[in-house]
């Protein structure tokens, strides 16, 4: 384990530095001008002097390398700065959005994980049957559905036509609800976005599981098990599924990393106040500090998820354990 740690940590550190640097550079390579945001939309009304004053105030006139150094300083002191748009402290904004995003992506990850794994296992076990084909074609169909279109369809059906579910937001605005009632309200608001997200992310898990199962089914120990007269059920769950899970859980672990990034499309369609939407708005308005802070969170999350997957895999698949 010790050897793994030092070398790996070095690698991850290097990746992190590169990511942070890219994170600093990318927004500045985009066309467009943050002045519009800082000054509000009436930037055209500013006199040249007023404009220069603003540029100076936000440090946009210093050389890029100075901005870069200042960026690292702020980062290490956990000072994420203020949004150009609203003047709010960014750390607070992120912390406000993160729970909503995780509620959405976390629930969808769980649902799509469970359904994907079960359906994938069943499909592979009954390979070639009508059930397998039905599952396979419907999953491929679902996968090709654009998330925004599905979301709008659900809004139009359940919110507009039937009026049974709310169509937007994380909870009823200014509802005054508390305790249990508020939880119910939040749950109602989460139904459609979570459903949409689950539907579009299940096929990926299903495909991985099905393929992985088929691999395992072809291996020697299954034949041995069959020959020994193990029951189908026991074979399926004890031997095949367990061995097939490793790659699937890796996929899910990585998805957990991406989950922190929220989901721009779904959060936009349902006007859900998560991180994805924050980024969407920030990118559109060249709100550099917010963009950088949010991308930084994603970078950390994805790296952490990678690390997690790397640590978990050997525990699942004995064949990959390092020979001590």
């Amino acid at each position: 384990m010790g050897r793994f740690d030092t070398r790996r940590i070095g690698q991850y550190g290097l990746v992190l530095v590169i990511a942070v640097t890219l994170n600093f550079l990318l927004p500045r390579l985009m066309p467009g001008n943050p002045l519009a945001l800082i000054a509000g939309v009436d930037v055209g009304l500013l006199s040249p002097d007023q404009r220069a004053e603003l540029v100076q105030e936000f440090g946009l006139d210093t050389p890029v390398w100075q901005q870069y150094l200042r960026y690292w300083q702020d980062l290490l002191s956990l000072d994420l700065g203020y949004s150009y748009r609203s003047g709010q402290a960014i750390l607070g904004m992120l912390l406000e959005r993160l729970p909503w995003t995780l509620l959405l992506t976390g629930s969808a990850l769980l649902i799509s994980g469970v359904i994907g794994i079960v359906a994938g296992a069943v499909s592979a076990w009954r390979r070639g049957s009508a059930l397998d084909l039905t599952l396979l074609t419907s999953m491929i169909g679902l996968e090709s559905m654009p998330a925004f279109w599905l979301g709008m369809l659900l809004i139009s059906g359940f919110a507009v036509s039937l009026g049974v579910l709310p169509s937007f937001g994380a909870e009823t605005a200014v509802s005054g609800l508390e305790g249990w009632d508020r939880l119910v309200d939040i749950a109602e608001h989460a139904v459609l976005p979570v459903l949409t997200l689950s539907i579009v992310s299940t096929p990926g898990v299903y495909m991985t599981m099905r393929y992985s199962m088929l691999e395992v089914l072809g291996e020697d120990f299954i034949r041995t098990g069959r020959a020994k007269g193990a029951t189908e059920r026991r074979l399926l769950f004890r031997h095949v599924a367990r061995n097939a899970l490793a790659p699937v859980l890796t996929v899910l672990a990585l998805r957990l990393g991406y989950a922190f990034g929220g989901t721009v499309v779904i959060e936009t369609v349902f006007s859900y106040p998560g991180l994805g939407r924050l980024v969407f708005e920030a990118v559109g308005g060249r709100d550099y500090p917010v963009m950088q802070a949010a991308f930084l969170v994603f970078t950390f999350a994805v790296l952490a998820a990678n690390l997690l997957a790397e640590l978990v895999y050997p525990l699942l698949d004995p064949r990959t354990r390092a020979s001590a």
Binding site: L45, Y82, S156, V160, S167, G169, F270
Partner: protein, 587 residues
């Protein structure tokens, strides 16, 4: 096994049926991902942003101005709670943090008041100042303030606050308000209720552009604020306006509560909840499902009929002063040639654009730039479409199609240019496509290039400063309502000197127009001003600093069963404090 698979197939079939049933309710999404910035900036001086879900309904039932069609629904009186939809986030809604000119500034002004207030005809009327006297030389504004007005925290409002506001905006650059007050050299208080503003030069549009626009700040709150852009206030923003902002959650909602002591009487809606949507499709779905009662964004033309058929939803319509324009860099060939500009204007069938793209819900553009509903409109200016004349002009000027490929040549190069348009604005994109087809009829090839909002702005108006030049051939452009509403702004659109022509994005230069435009900025006499604006329109139509295509009309959807006392302010729409005051209290 077969039973199982049948059951699966049945389930799948059911799912398909349910989904297709849902889809028949037709949820057209006109909006595309326009970014955060792409929020209907109908602001003083910004390009009329992409993402403007533009306009409205067939003209045949256009009820101009306040659309007060009572159909037995709840009328005025007080409404406990109303929910309004906006698109995008407007920050903490202080004069330094609001984001867009529309609806941001409009929501800001629910909490604050200005010295004067625009009425439904777009004319400034006394407001916090009960009288406004202008000296003969146009340099001094003597005002007497309304007595007994209090700030939200109970402190009395005095002349000192007005003086403080002027000084504060001038000392802390804030864009719109600092710039508007830029002409003020001195503000002095005379007792508690007298204020005198002195200008460095006469500015006939001062009441409209400044007195009706700048929110008055409380000195006792703001005197200690050093960094207004990031300052976090404790509790609600303190103004004199009809509402206080009690709660704000970014990207979620605002909660505004009526100020019962408002100096014009208590507002008609006690609690106004403003819900933020990520795009206008979400807002439209929400008004149809009854989750919101009004949409504070313009409804796209194709939505109007659909919405109008829904229960108690009604549409308030009227003229807006935003515009769709064809821009070019007039400082370089061939656009520096008046024949080419005239040919392009003659090639465009404006009525066709209005009918095809806006389904009739727009006003045909006048070649003289000024909207026909404007009091200063010059009726003698003619706007014509004539392909024959356009082609003749180009032939005579030597732009011939020598290789017979349907595209004329200028200096041996084919007349083929990129036409930039923002991707977030579908109506503008469709307009661009049609304009390109029309230009092709006179042998000019315009290749529509749909780019992201920021890229488009950066090409036409780099750094929002004409001193940086420009970097395009042809572009779709549009100004927001205030540029049209204040006719004297035409000077900043056409004047060749950067100081005056701060919005001259087409690099247009014409000595005669410079002269008239400049005279207009300082002329105080109304009759003479109207004459000058008329003259300018004739010159405009002939020399074409840019080609005015059309002015989209405004349309707003609201649920008449909840509230139907909306005031449609000409050129501004329904989002203003006027809509939320008793009719008698409106100016």
């Amino acid at each position: 096994m077969t039973t199982v698979s049948n059951r699966w197939a049945a389930l799948l079939l059911l799912l398909v049926l349910v989904l297709s049933a849902c889809s028949s309710t037709d949820d057209t999404a006109d909006s595309t991902d326009d970014g955060a910035g792409g929020e209907d900036a109908a602001a003083s001086d910004t390009p009329d942003d992409a993402g403007d879900s533009d306009d409205d309904a067939p003209d045949d039932d256009a009820d101009d101005a306040d659309d007060d069609t009572d159909d037995g629904a709840a009328a005025s009186g007080t409404v406990a709670t109303m929910r309004a939809a906006i698109t995008g986030d407007e920050g903490t809604l202080t004069p330094y943090t609001y984001v867009t000119g529309f609806p941001g500034w409009n929501l800001l002004m629910l909490q604050y008041d200005s010295l004067m207030q625009i009425d439904v005809d777009g004319v400034p009327q006394p407001w916090l100042a009960e009288s406004v006297d202008v000296s003969d030389d146009g340099l001094t504004y003597d005002m007497t303030l309304v007595d007994g007005v209090t700030w939200h925290d109970g402190e009395p409002f005095t002349a000192e606050d007005v003086v403080f506001t002027v000084d504060y905006f001038l000392a802390n650059a804030a864009g719109r308000f600092s710039r508007n007050l830029g002409a003020v050299t001195e503000a002095t208080a005379d007792g508690d209720l007298g204020v005198t503003l002195t200008l460095e030069a006469p500015s006939p549009s001062f009441p409209l552009s400044t007195l009706s626009d700048v929110p008055i700040l409380p000195e006792h709150v703001w005197s200690t604020v050093e960094d207004p852009e990031t300052h976090q206030f404790e509790g609600p923003n303190v103004g004199t306006g009809p509402y206080t902002l009690e709660e704000y959650q970014s990207d979620t909602s605002y909660r505004l509560v009526a100020n019962p002591d408002y100096f014009r009487g208590a507002p008609t809606v006690e609690e106004l909840v403003i819900v933020q949507f990520a795009d206008d499709a979400g807002a439209l779905a929400a008004i149809r499902s009854g989750e919101v009662d009004v949409v504070f964004d313009q409804i796209a033309p194709e939505q109007v009929d659909l919405l109008g058929q829904q229960g108690t939803i009604e549409i308030a319509q009227g003229p807006e002063y935003s515009s769709q324009l064809l821009y070019f860099d007039a400082s370089k060939a061939p656009f520096d040639d008046i024949a080419v500009r005239q040919a392009m204007s003659l090639a465009v069938d404006r009525q066709d654009l209005v009918d095809t793209v806006f389904l009739g819900a727009a006003t045909v553009g006048s070649a003289g730039w000024i909207h026909p509903d404007q009091p200063t409109f010059n009726a003698e200016v003619e706007t014509t479409t004539d392909l024959e004349q356009a082609n003749a002009l180009l032939e005579d000027a030597g732009y011939t199609d020598s290789d017979g490929d349907g595209i004329r040549e200028a200096d041996g190069e084919p007349m083929s240019y990129e036409l930039l348009t923002p991707s977030g604005d579908s109506l503008r994109l469709r307009t661009a496509e049609l304009v390109a087809a029309m230009l092709a009829d006179v042998g000019i090839q315009a290749n529509v290039s749909s780019v992201e909002q920021a890229t488009w702005e950066e090409a036409v108006w780099p750094g929002f400063d004409v001193a940086n030049g420009r970097n395009y051939d042809l572009a779709m452009w549009g100004w927001s309502a205030p540029i049209q509403a204040d006719a004297s702004r035409v000077a900043s659109l056409v004047h060749s000197e950067i100081e005056i022509g701060s919005l001259n994005l087409t690099a247009f230069a014409d000595p005669e127009m410079d002269e008239v435009a400049q005279a207009l900025t300082v002329e105080g006499d109304d009759a003479t001003r109207t004459e000058l604006i008329g003259e300018l329109q004739s010159l405009f139509a002939e020399r074409l600093p840019f080609v005015t295509l059309l002015y989209p009309d405004g349309a707003y959807a609201y649920d008449a069963a909840v509230y139907d006392d909306w005031a449609f302010v000409n050129g501004q729409g329904i989002v203003s404090k006027l809509s939320l005051l008793e009719p008698a209290a409106r100016p």
